[in-house]
Amino acid sequence: MKRPEKSLAFTFNGVRIEAIEGQTIAAALLASEINVLRKTRLKNEPRSIFCGIGICWDCVVTVNGVTNQRSCLIEVVEGMVVSS
């Protein structure tokens, strides 16, 4: 499969990540082999995507300062600042 070019970039916990237009934050991170999207609040356990369709909220990150955003639903926008 021929992939379109990675024409967008954002940062995840300070690291620059490139993405294809239309990809969600989670898709771009997993494509860059970043599997751990956050640590849990109580037991500090690593979590990644789980349902992938916005049901389970396991993949939540902070996007441009807004907390609890589902990275599997939000498409990457150039210059986005994502953290967890």
């Binding site: 969600t24 979590r47 789980f50 349902c51 992938g52 369709i53």
Partner: protein, 434 residues
């Protein structure tokens, strides 16, 4: 005005059917792309052709996008709904702003999501639902791992396993908890739906040509960071895709007071009549929310809900017989509970373990899923119990050596808000009314 919630197979066909009769339609969906969970596709910038099975989807996409009677709300979440006099008000949040959609008729086509059964290690990164692996591949062109184990039950595991392997992943095994030979006892479901037999043969051939081994009657015991345990034997893999059927999304139906019922396999669905109308006049439901039956049944139900056309009833009945067969061939028994250890997390959001739930029952006197939730917070997190609700209530009933009542099952399918919303979005007030 007809408001349709969900732009998957049922919602799209309902929108097109209603618009053909000259009705004004608002089609509301949480995704930026049409198609829902089933008709997932790469964005147009990938320049890829559509597979043949996509013909129906493409036809409906084209009609929805070109018909001036259909207004599309994408990236929109219906978080609350009410019926006042003869009118429905849907409270929709779109791009951080709340709007009210007013309609005389509402069709709920809210679909379903994977049912995931817990086991030790299911909360590790690398373990995900089959739907998650599928959506990453089909919508974003991302293979989420290199070496996969697929496990659970149901025919949905077949396109997931073959799709991942065709895209270049190594699928080291598919573990199907049931045996499809059970179809022999449900032959009428297949005979009435010959296309399903063809589909089954297609996937069996595909599995063989891709070298994917299917193990029937087997379940995963646990997962670690580099593999899973089946029958005490470790199978190495970096990613596990799991799914044990589907859970219909019923929040809006419950909020609007529509009668819900429990299907033969314990799944809670919306009760509808011949026209797909719920117990609330003017409120219709179509697709997986009325019973898991696949996209062809969903399309038929959508057409009937959108147009109340009688001509499609026979075709719908045939597809429903197949759907009943699915419930009988791929049941989920309580056997999955034997894999759990006291430390296994059941509620992923609030990190509640099996020991916590047992403690709530044995020490605090919890008698059902609801009281266990109040004592432990299981099901009170961001997902509002969508992932753990049914599992926890089944565990509580099992621990108390009793069966779940229909009322308890229906309670776990209901939630006060259809989608979480921030107080800021609420506080900003309404932009405009539709």
């Amino acid at each position: 005005m007809i408001a349709i919630v969900g732009a998957g197979p049922a919602g799209l066909s309902a929108a097109v059917a209603a618009a053909k009769l000259g009705q004004q339609v608002i089609l509301i969906d949480s995704s930026p792309r049409l198609g829902g969970q089933y008709w997932r596709h790469l964005p147009s910038n990938w320049g890829v052709g559509r597979p043949p099975y996509f013909a129906k989807a493409q036809e409906l996409f084209d009609e929805v996008l070109s018909n001036p009677l259909i207004t599309r709300f994408s990236n929109a979440h219906v978080w609350q709904a009410e019926k006042k006099a003869e009118q429905f008000n849907l409270y929709v949040v779109r791009n951080g702003v709340e709007e009210i959609v007013k309609a005389e008729k509402v069709i709920l086509a809210t679909g379903a999501y994977d049912r995931a059964l817990p086991f030790p290690g299911w909360d590790l990164p690398g373990v995900m639902t089959a739907g998650a692996a599928q959506s990453m591949l089909k919508s974003h062109g991302v293979l989420v791992g290199k070496k996969f184990v697929i496990a659970g039950t149901g025919p949905f595991l077949l396109p997931v396993a073959t799709g991942l392997a065709a895209a270049g992943a190594e699928v080291v095994g598919l573990y199907e908890a049931n045996n499809p030979l059970r179809w022999i006892l449900n032959l009428h479901g297949l005979i009435l739906n010959p296309s399903k037999i063809r589909e089954g043969i297609y996937f069996l051939k595909k599995l063989r040509s891709l070298g994917i081994k299917v193990h029937y009657g087997k379940e995963i015991q646990s997962a670690v960071s580099d593999g899973v345990l089946v029958d005490g034997k470790k199978i190495e893999c970096d990613t596990v895709a799991i799914g044990s059927g589907f859970v219909p999304e019923l929040s809006l139906a419950g909020i609007l007071g529509a009668k819900l019922k429990v299907g033969a396999d314990g799944t809670v669905v919306v009760d509808v009549d011949q026209n797909q109308q719920t117990s609330i006049p003017g409120l219709y439901a179509a697709g997986e929310s009325t019973g898991i039956g696949g996209s062809s049944l969903a399309v038929l139900e959508g057409e009937i809900a959108g147009s109340t056309r009688k001509g499609k009833r026979l075709a719908r009945w045939r597809a429903q017989v197949f759907a009943t067969g699915l419930q009988r061939v791929y049941p989920v028994s309580n056997k999955w509970q034997s894999a759990l250890t006291p430390q296994t997390i059941l509620c992923r959001c609030e990190e509640v373990s099996l020991a916590d739930i047992h403690g709530a029952i044995d020490e605090l006197g919890a008698q059902d899923g609801r009281s266990a939730k109040l004592f432990t917070r299981a099901g009170m997190g961001l997902c509002q119990g969508r992932v753990c609700g049914r599992n926890v209530s089944e565990i509580v009933a099992c621990h108390l050596s009793r069966d779940l009542t229909a009322e308890e099952r229906i309670n776990t399918a209901q939630r006060p808000l259809a989608a979480p919303i921030s107080l800021g979005e609420l506080g900003d007030g309404l932009e405009k009314n539709f």
